[in-house]
C-alpha cells in the first residue's frame, strides 16, 4: 500500500462515515422548518420550546413539544393554521396564509401527504 493509497482510503472512509451519519439523521432526525418572509429556520423536534416569529400581519407563536409542533397562536382571522393542530410526520405542514408563515416537518420516507 502506497502513501497515496492510504490517504485515499482514509478520505473515503471519512466521507463514508459522514454519509452514514447524514443518512441516519435523515431517517430519525425530525426537524421543524419555519418559513417566513425573512427565510427558513430549522428547529429540532425533541427540544420543548415556544418560538415567536414575525409574520406579515403580526407575531405567531409556534410550540414544539413531545416531537410535535403546532401553531399555538396566530394573529390571523380564520385560524386555519391553529386548527391544523399538531404536526409530527415528515411532509406534514401547517400554513398561515394571511400571515405568510409556513411550518413543516422533515424526516421519513413518504414522498408526499395528501390532505
Amino acid at each position: 500500500m502506497k502513501p497515496y493509497d492510504r490517504i485515499l482510503l482514509i478520505l473515503i472512509i471519512i466521507l463514508l462515515l459522514i454519509s452514514v451519519v447524514l443518512f441516519l439523521n435523515k431517517k430519525e432526525g425530525e426537524f421543524l422548518f419555519i418559513k417566513t418572509d425573512s427565510g427558513i429556520k430549522k428547529y429540532p423536534l425533541n427540544q420543548e420550546t415556544i418560538i415567536t416569529v414575525k409574520g406579515r400581519i403580526g407575531d405567531a407563536r409556534i410550540e414544539i413539544k413531545d416531537g410535535k409542533a403546532r401553531f399555538l397562536h396566530s394573529p390571523c382571522k380564520k385560524k386555519i393554521c391553529e386548527k391544523r393542530g399538531w404536526i409530527s410526520k415528515e411532509g406534514e405542514y401547517a400554513i398561515c396564509i394571511p400571515n405568510g408563515v409556513f411550518i413543516w416537518i422533515g424526516g421519513d420516507d413518504l414522498d408526499a401527504i395528501s390532505e
Binding site: M1, S19, F23, K77, S88, F102, A112, I113, S114
Partner: protein, 326 residues
C-alpha cells in the same frame, strides 16, 4: 501480486457502495411557494430544476382565470357582472363545461355555482356563521346550474344568478397542466404537492409513497404506493367551525346548502386525471359511502377511492385496497 490489489479492491468496493447509495432520490431539488391561495411543494430531479419557473407561470395564469378572489380574474368578473356577457377563452369554457358535466352526472352533488352559499357561511373570509333557513332559501335560486350561460362561438360566458367557484377542481386542473409540461420537458422525476393535491411523475422503480392525512389526529391514516397520477383528498377538517357543539365544514351539500352530512369525513381519490380526481373527491364526500361507491363504480371504474367514515373506518373502492402499503 495479491497484496497490491488488497487495498485498491476495498477502495473499489467502497466506491461502488457510495456511488449506489448516492443514486437514491437525493439528487432532487425542492422548491416551495404560494399559489392559488395555497402552499406548493415542488420536487424535481436537479437536471430539470429550471422547469419550476414555468410551473410558476402556469399557476399564476390559472389564478388569473379561475380565482374567485383575484379581482383581475375571469371568474371574479363574471361573478361581479351578473347578467352581462364576459369575454373568456376556450380553456375557460372547457373547464366550465367539465364542471357542468360533473354536475349533471353526479345528480347535482358537484356544483360549481355555490359561491354565494360558501360566502353566507363565512368559509371565504372566516366570518363564520350559521345562515337562517330563510336566507338559504333565498340563495337556492343562485345555485341552479342553469344560471350559467355559455356562448361558445363568441367565447363568452354569463351568469344570471349565483357565483361561480372552481375551488372543487382548480387544483386538480393545475396538476394536469403541470403534468403536460413535465412530459414536454422530459422530466425524469417530479413530485408536486399543491395544497394537499399530489401529482407524481417519472421513474421510480419502487413507486411513490403517499400518506393520507388522518382526519382527526396528527399523522396519517393510510399509506399508498402509486407509480404515476394524482391523489386528491377532501376532508371536513380543513376549513370548519364549531358552534353549539356542531361541526360546520366547508363541503356544502348542494341539495341542502348546508355542510354535507353523509357520514363521510374524508375522501381520497387516486386518478390519472387531476381535475377529475379533485372534482370526484368533493362529489363522493357529498354522495356518501353507498351512493358514492355505486356512482364511482358505474361511471369511473378506472378511478380508485378511499372513503373514511365517522367511525374512522376505511372503505376502498375500485381496488384502492391494492395500493395500500404498511
Amino acid at each position: 501480486m495479491w497484496r497490491k490489489f488488497k487495498y485498491s479492491g476495498i477502495i473499489i468496493v467502497i466506491l461502488i457502495v457510495s456511488f449506489l447509495s448516492s443514486c437514491s432520490p437525493s439528487n432532487m431539488v425542492t422548491k416551495k411557494g404560494l399559489y392559488l391561495g395555497t402552499f406548493l411543494t415542488f420536487s424535481i430531479d436537479s437536471a430539470h430544476s429550471y422547469v419550476y419557473s414555468k410551473v410558476s407561470k402556469i399557476l399564476n395564469n390559472i389564478d388569473k382565470k379561475f380565482s374567485r378572489f383575484n379581482k383581475e380574474s375571469l371568474v371574479y368578473r363574471i361573478n361581479n357582472k351578473k347578467g352581462e356577457w364576459v369575454k373568456v377563452d376556450k380553456e375557460f369554457i372547457d373547464v366550465l363545461k367539465f364542471s357542468i358535466h360533473m354536475n349533471e352526472i353526479s345528480y347535482g352533488a358537484f356544483n360549481p355555482i355555490l359561491g354565494e352559499v360558501e360566502s353566507a357561511w363565512g368559509f371565504y373570509d372566516g366570518n363564520y356563521r350559521v345562515p337562517s333557513e330563510e336566507e338559504l332559501k333565498e340563495l337556492r335560486n343562485g345555485t341552479n346550474i342553469k344560471n350559467i350561460m355559455i356562448d361558445e362561438e363568441r367565447e363568452r360566458v354569463k351568469i344570471i344568478d349565483g357565483e361561480l367557484d372552481f375551488g372543487g377542481l382548480v387544483k386538480g386542473y393545475a396538476l394536469d397542466l403541470i403534468k403536460n409540461l413535465l412530459e414536454k420537458e422530459k422530466v425524469k422525476r417530479c413530485v408536486v404537492n399543491l395544497g394537499g393535491n399530489i401529482l407524481v411523475f417519472g421513474d421510480k422503480k419502487e413507486g411513490f409513497k403517499i400518506g393520507i392525512r388522518h382526519p382527526r389526529e396528527s399523522g396519517i391514516i393510510a399509506k399508498i404506493r402509486i407509480f404515476s397520477g394524482t391523489v386528491a383528498t377532501s376532508g371536513d377538517y380543513e376549513n370548519y367551525f364549531i358552534k353549539d357543539g356542531v361541526r360546520y365544514h366547508h363541503i356544502i351539500d348542494p341539495s341542502t346548502l348546508k355542510p354535507a352530512k353523509s357520514g363521510v369525513i374524508e375522501v381520497t381519490v387516486i386518478s390519472e386525471d387531476g381535475m377529475l380526481g379533485d372534482a370526484l373527491s368533493t362529489t363522493l364526500f357529498v354522495l356518501g359511502i353507498e351512493k358514492g361507491e355505486e356512482f364511482l363504480k358505474g361511471k369511473y371504474p378506472q378511478v380508485k377511492a378511499i372513503i373514511v367514515d365517522e367511525g374512522l373506518n376505511k372503505h376502498f373502492i375500485n381496488g384502492a385496497m391494492d395500493l395500500t402499503v404498511p
